[in-house]
């Protein structure tokens, strides 16, 4: 009974947003803030949320991927939808704001039409407007992690600029992934002393006896509704990032424990609603909700997916609010008799030129930026290519980084030069439009690591292949519980064929290094950064940001032809290379 009612309102909310879409599909700007915010209030509780802001306090362009290569069982499901498939699945008109913010289709044209997205003052305006409309006692403000890291301003201020903003806006709950890379001590100082939001995680425990490091959940009463919120930090942080940041802590996906906490909230605390605030990634959360029962809503971060309507698994609704400050999620809920009865949901697109800036947040951003403006604003070149990061196997930013590494290591003698340069498949990083000037801050925003060291070393062909196969399995394992939610390493100087549905160890084929077939026993000169530091290798004098900044400065004009530069041939999945340019 309650199910079908929930269904009905869910569907009608979707219908509504589809209707409001139509008028400004293909329209030229004058889009009003009111139009973006349009939302018919519903029920007695409102969730306001963001995720994966990745340290971006200022507006930016961020292109959704052209490709999200899926293993066969997951093809066509949320988490793997791109381009026209994404638009069709969610019934979105090409050319609309929703198409611009949620897909790659005609990105370059639409970016010029709609402008940048995100920005801390803009997000603050939206969040505060919702709170004002609904009343503070009806709202819960949450963030899904990857928040105070991986941008220029994040690196310079150890995350504090963003923490300051979170406190200003009034966030109440948060979880983590990259956030730990400010360093374990600093991270603990932030979550215990600096941050007003509560840090919750059921899946961070002390080694070896398994005591919880943080509260696994919190219970809060809002407008007479008792809500239990469980936190889940990125389960594979100790493997994806250098171990020192999480030394002594264990993470992981723990369905039994999660189920235990749901039960505890329902039976002991008698909550009316259970929310999972997660940095698991959308495919993993979808798989996990098939095992764990009793969670009403999952706010799912990590994989940067955009879900214009919730993904339903049984009675659980899963939403993913994109990344880089592009959206603020709003979900109005009707909770009665200890049950979620119905909901209305919208991802509010943060169009930076349309949403007015919150004065206090703007001041705060200016204050934190002031000491770094000069360094950040230095123009080092111009790009004539769309510089993007997101894609499963290739990106123009990574190609540029590979070129820079090769140029940096020009060889100590005539015989030796760099054979391979690998760039990790992070899902974060700013996008630059063709014709845009490249500033120092842009390089920070694509390489905003707290461990930017570059290592050059020799590795045998067979060991390189084994490593790449390993990464490929983390990306293409058909069971999302065994995926890490990142993209494939970008391997500069190497061409290969990829069969994503092959068995582990057999996906990467016909590898050619500098045009010649990979020789298993031959030693290759390899440059790496952004992973666990290799043992016994000293880092280079220059870090990856310095290497890339110097290279752009030297080259000045950046041209990359995607068709020519693409070094991966995908054998068993379509691979798009023109979505942005359509």
């Amino acid at each position: 009974m309650s199910l079908s009612r929930r269904d009905f309102i869910g569907v009608s909310a979707l219908g509504l947003s589809a209707l409001t879409l139509a008028p400004y599909a293909f329209a030229r700007k004058p889009l009003s803030f009111e139009k973006l915010m349009e939302f018919k209030p519903h029920g007695n509780l409102t969730l306001v949320f963001t995720s994966d802001i990745h340290g971006h306090l200022k507006p930016l362009y961020f292109a959704e991927p052209m490709n999200l290569l899926a293993p066969e069982p997951l093809r066509g499901t949320p988490g793997y939808l791109t381009g026209m498939d994404f638009l069709k699945y969610y019934n979105i008109k090409p050319g609309s704001v929703e198409a611009y913010t949620g897909s790659c289709v005609s990105f370059i044209k639409l970016a010029k039409l709609y402008g940048k997205t995100g920005g801390a003052p803009q997000m603050a305006t939206i969040i505060r407007a919702i709170i004002e409309e609904r009343g503070k006692d009806k709202c819960i403000v949450l963030d899904g992690g990857d928040t105070w890291v991986t941008s220029g301003i994040a690196v310079k201020t150890d995350g504090m600029a963003i923490v300051d903003w979170l406190n200003y806006v009034g966030y109440e709950y948060i979880v983590a992934h990259w956030d730990v890379t400010v360093g374990k001590e600093k991270f603990l100082d932030i979550v215990k002393n600096k941050l007003k939001a509560k840090f919750i995680s059921y899946n961070i425990t002390e080694e070896p006896f398994g005591e919880l490091v943080f509260p696994p959940y919190d219970v809060i009463e809002k407008n007479g509704v008792k809500v239990g919120i469980i936190g889940s930090s990125f389960p594979f942080t100790p493997i994806a990032n250098p171990r020192k940041f999480t030394e002594g802590w264990s993470f992981g996906v723990r369905p039994e424990e999660l189920q235990k906490y749901v039960k505890e909230l329902r039976e002991k605390h008698k909550v009316d609603l259970v929310i999972l605030l997660s940095h698991d990634g959308l495919p993993l959360d979808i798989a996990l909700m098939k095992q764990v029962k009793g969670i009403d809503i999952v706010i799912s971060g990590h994989t940067h997916d955009v879900t214009p309507t919730p993904v339903r698994v049984g009675d659980t609704l899963i939403v993913s609010p994109g990344s880089h400050g592009k959206f603020v999620g709003r979900m109005d809920l009707e909770v009665r008799n200890g049950k979620l009865q119905s909901y209305r949901f919208k991802l509010i697109p943060v169009l930076s030129e349309v949403v007015p800036e919150d004065k206090g947040a703007k001041k705060l951003v200016e204050k934190w930026y002031k000491p770094y403006e000069k360094e950040f604003n230095e123009v080092i070149g111009t790009t004539h290519t769309l510089l993007y990061k997101r894609d499963t196997v290739f990106s123009t930013w990574d190609r540029l980084i590979g070129e820079a590494l090769e140029d940096y290591y020009h060889g100590v003698d005539a015989v030796m030069s760099l054979d391979v340069g690998t760039s990790p498949g992070f899902r974060w990083g700013t996008t630059l439009l063709p014709g845009q000037k490249i500033k120092v801050e842009d390089v920070y925003d694509v390489l905003g690591l707290t461990y930017p060291e570059v290592y050059i070393m020799k590795r045998k062909g067979k060991d390189l292949l084994a490593l790449w196969e390993d990464v490929a399995d983390n990306v293409f394992n058909p069971n999302p519980l065994y995926q890490q939610g990142g993209d494939m390493s970008r391997i500069y100087g190497v061409e290969y064929e990829l069969k994503i549905n092959a068995k582990q160890g057999e996906r990467i084929r016909n590898v050619r290094i500098k045009g010649k077939p990979l020789e298993p026993e031959k030693e290759y000169v390899v440059a790496v950064y952004g992973g666990p530091p290799p043992m016994g290798v000293e880092p280079e004098k220059k870090n990856i940001r310095e290497i890339v900044v110097d290279y752009i400065r030297k080259k000045k004009e950046i041209h990359i032809d995607v068709k020519k530069a693409l070094n991966v041939k995908v054998l068993d999945h379509p691979y798009n290379i023109d979505c942005y340019w359509r």
Binding site: I239, A240, V253, D473, N474, Y482, G486, G530
Partner: protein, 147 residues
């Protein structure tokens, strides 16, 4: 030289031919199957997977050198005799075996194991009636990480 070489070669071939039929089962069995046969006294194929045994292990190990696993079961302790743990692809698949008595209260065993590579982990219980029940879980051991 040639003649001698021919002779040794044919000798090898002979041995190969005569030995093959008799030895085939041994060649065909994996190290795991051999170990299970040796320690349990039954073939692995006769051990059935059962939801009665619960094996908790990470999907992706944080370190192959130190993988936490827990075996539990609600089967009454007085009906259970022994527990074995195997890792299919370890050079030596047998990890441990534990004799259980009613003094244990219930079937619960938690430990840390070493794993050389991605593999299935198996927990097998022998019941007092002579039957076996098993839980299996794949644990991935990975070096490559990307956020």
């Amino acid at each position: 030289m040639d003649r001698r070489r021919f002779l040794t070669l044919s000798a090898v071939a002979m041995v190969g031919l005569t030995a093959l039929p008799a030895l085939k089962p041994a060649f065909g069995a994996s190290k795991l199957e051999e170990e299970v046969q040796k320690r349990l006294g039954v073939a692995l194929s006769q051990v059935k997977e059962s939801p009665e045994v619960k094996l908790t292990a990470p999907t992706i190990a944080e370190s192959g050198a130190n993988v936490p696993i827990t075996v539990e079961s609600d089967i009454p302790i007085d009906k259970v005799e022994q527990l074995w743990i195997f890792v299919d692809k370890n050079p030596s698949p047998w990890i441990t075996d534990v004799k259980l008595t009613p003094m244990n209260g219930r079937v619960f065993f938690s430990t840390r194991i070493k794993m050389g590579e991605t593999s299935n982990v198996r927990a097998i219980l022998k019941l007092k009636d002579g039957s076996f029940v098993m839980a299996t879980k794949e644990v991935k051991v990975t070096a490559g990480g990307c956020g």
